[in-house]
Amino acid sequence: MFSRAYRTAITLPPLLWVTVFLLVPYLLMFCYSFWSVSPSQAILHTWSLDNYQQLRHVDVYWQTLLRSMWIAARVTLFSLLLGYPLAYFLSFYAGKRKDLFYQLVVIPLWVSYLVRAYAWKTILGSDGVLNTLLQYVHLTRHPLEFLLYSPFAVVLTLTHIYTSFTFLPIYASLEHIPRNLVEASHDLGASPAQTFWRVVFPLSIPGVLAGATFAFVLSLGDFLAPQLLGGPSGIMISNIVVSLFGAAYNWPLGAAISFCMLVLVVSLLFVAERLEKKWSFA
């Protein structure tokens, strides 16, 4: 139906832009990852796998990467634990107030991430709201140090951010489940608990996978929360990359780490997509 000219007109500009501003930069990053930096801070275009080796063998990089994955895993788990029952409640029990509750869940997503992370910083500090509150009501006598500048703070803040993220796809997939399936299950003698595990949950798995994927990938690559709230023990891999592009000035190494993250993300997406296909029954 559409002429060649039309199709070219809609295809060419975005294609060109995306090639110049996405594809080329990623490829450039890929190239950089094989280069190295001279002591005088010049980029040497010698090709080697040194950077990747450093990533694997230098403790600070490797440990940080593992810690980042561990933090991301916990954030994902907690976000799902918070987000799933919320989505289930809204979808099956909220009735007329479903709309209102839905808006309430989505609003925090639109509030600046920085603002929310900052809020937690003011709450969790030793002079922060939480500590002074606890002391005020005499639950504690000294400020709890672990609240801020720790992996705990990072996990807490990121969970706060990503709970709404995991909620959305889970809610969408729950809404898609025809209600007559739930009725059929009850009709056949399954209790509500049995119905949930045998019918509702399996059919919501694609939503869970989608939510888990975003939460994991985006918290893995986060640098803001660890910077503000992580302290030395809460540094994540993105902070290292940022410093390699800043004070530590080693672009090639930074590029190598970034490229690894890119590969990790793309593989995770690929796996998640395959799993989602397996679990979706249109």
Partner: protein, 364 residues
């Protein structure tokens, strides 16, 4: 084997036949919207009862109340000596075949059919053997390992049936299960369903808006209109002795005639005949097939009717004619198909076939 007619007669006569389900004064409103008014009905053991009605008549709501997906605003449901309506759906010995089948998309046909047994915690072997028998009964053995998305609508319907029957419920509810099928498949399934019901011997409560379907399959029909029961009777009775004008018109075709009896004579427009009915106004239902072409002469006691042909509808073996009589009365007549109808036509009917019916009130 007890015939449907026998069951129906026993139930209608109020004889203490085995009544399986008793619906007592059940009413249902959604907010201000009254959907069911004071329904009282009994379902006998082994009977095929159809709840027939237009959309909005409340038939699906009634079914859902029996299944347990809705609670009645007032009234009770009794199964034997026990109250049914206080139980949640998963505790009732009632199973449903849903309108769009509601098969679980993530389970195979086998797993779907075995679902109700699995949640009862039956042993694997017990489940397997019962599922096998159920699938054989609905002729779906070959598709046991398929997923619902891969089988046709008619096949899905059989699986839904097997899934419900394998639980050996006391009562099976069917919510317009055939409405999504095309005409030929539908007719075939009507026959199969009927013989299946006879075979397993459990009571079926079948909901439909299709009056032909109801007549073909049922032992009794409960006609529902605007939330109230218009008439409950066997198909033959409901057809030949409709209680109200609505029933007469909803089931089959009919001519509704206004008449008045004065001094032993029924006056109906320009027609009249002798009658024993008391004086007063009457509404009469006269079926088109009870109006016959006059043969060589008028039969004894018959009333003559003549008029001009206005329209004809060809139905294969018969035709439905629209005839306009002298005084403006228009009647439908069913006659054998003919290539041509000439001039003034003359018909006759037996006054006994003009059945008095109640006018249908706006509210019952």
């Amino acid at each position: 084997m007890v015939t449907g007619e026998q069951i129906a007669q026993a139930t209608s006569a109020g004889v203490a036949s085995t009544s399986l389900l008793e619906i007592r004064n059940v009413a249902k409103s959604f907010g201000k919207n009254v959907v069911l008014r004071n329904i009282s009905l009994q379902v006998a053991e082994g009977e095929f009862l159809t709840v027939l009605g237009e959309s909005g008549s409340g038939k699906t709501t009634l079914l859902r109340i029996i299944a347990g997906f809705e609670t009645a605003t007032s009234g009770e449901l009794w199964m034997g000596r026990e109250r049914l309506d206080v139980l949640p759906p998963y505790k009732r010995r009632v199973n449903t075949v849903f309108q769009h089948y509601a098969l679980f998309p993530h389970l195979t046909v086998e797993q779907n059919v075995g679902y109700g047994l699995t949640v009862e915690k039956q042993t694997k072997s017990e489940v397997a053997s019962r599922v096998e028998r159920a699938l054989a009964q609905v002729k779906m053995t070959a598709h046991a390992k398929a997923k619902p998305s891969k089988i046709s609508g008619g096949q899905q319907q059989r699986v839904a049936l097997a899934r419900a029957l394998v639980k050996r419920p006391k009562l099976l509810l069917l919510d317009e299960p055939l409405s999504a099928l095309d005409a030929n498949l539908r007719r075939q399934m009507q026959v199969e369903l009927k013989s299946l019901q006879r075979e397993v011997g459990i009571s079926f409560v079948f909901v439909t808006h299709d009056q032909e379907e109801a007549m073909v399959m049922s032992d009794r029909i409960a006609l529902l209109r605007m939330g109230g029961l218009e008439q409950v009777a066997t198909p033959r009775e409901i057809y030949s002795r409709p209680a109200t004008a609505y029933t007469a018109q909803f089931i089959g075709h009919t001519n509704l005639l206004q008449g008045e009896v004065r001094g032993g004579i029924m006056h109906c427009g320009s027609l009249s005949w002798k009658t024993n009915s008391p004086d007063g106004p009457y509404l009469l239902s006269l079926r088109p097939e009870n109006i016959h072409l006059i043969g060589s002469s008028l039969r004894a006691g018959a009333v003559r009717l003549q008029g001009k042909l206005q329209q004809r509808a060809f139905h294969g073996a018969t035709e439905l004619l629209r005839v306009e009589c002298a005084d403006g009365l228009i009647v439908s007549v069913r006659a054998g198909a003919r290539t041509e109808w000439q001039g003034e036509l003359e018909f006759e009917f037996d006054p006994a076939d003009a059945v008095p019916v109640r006018a249908s009130a706006e509210r019952i």
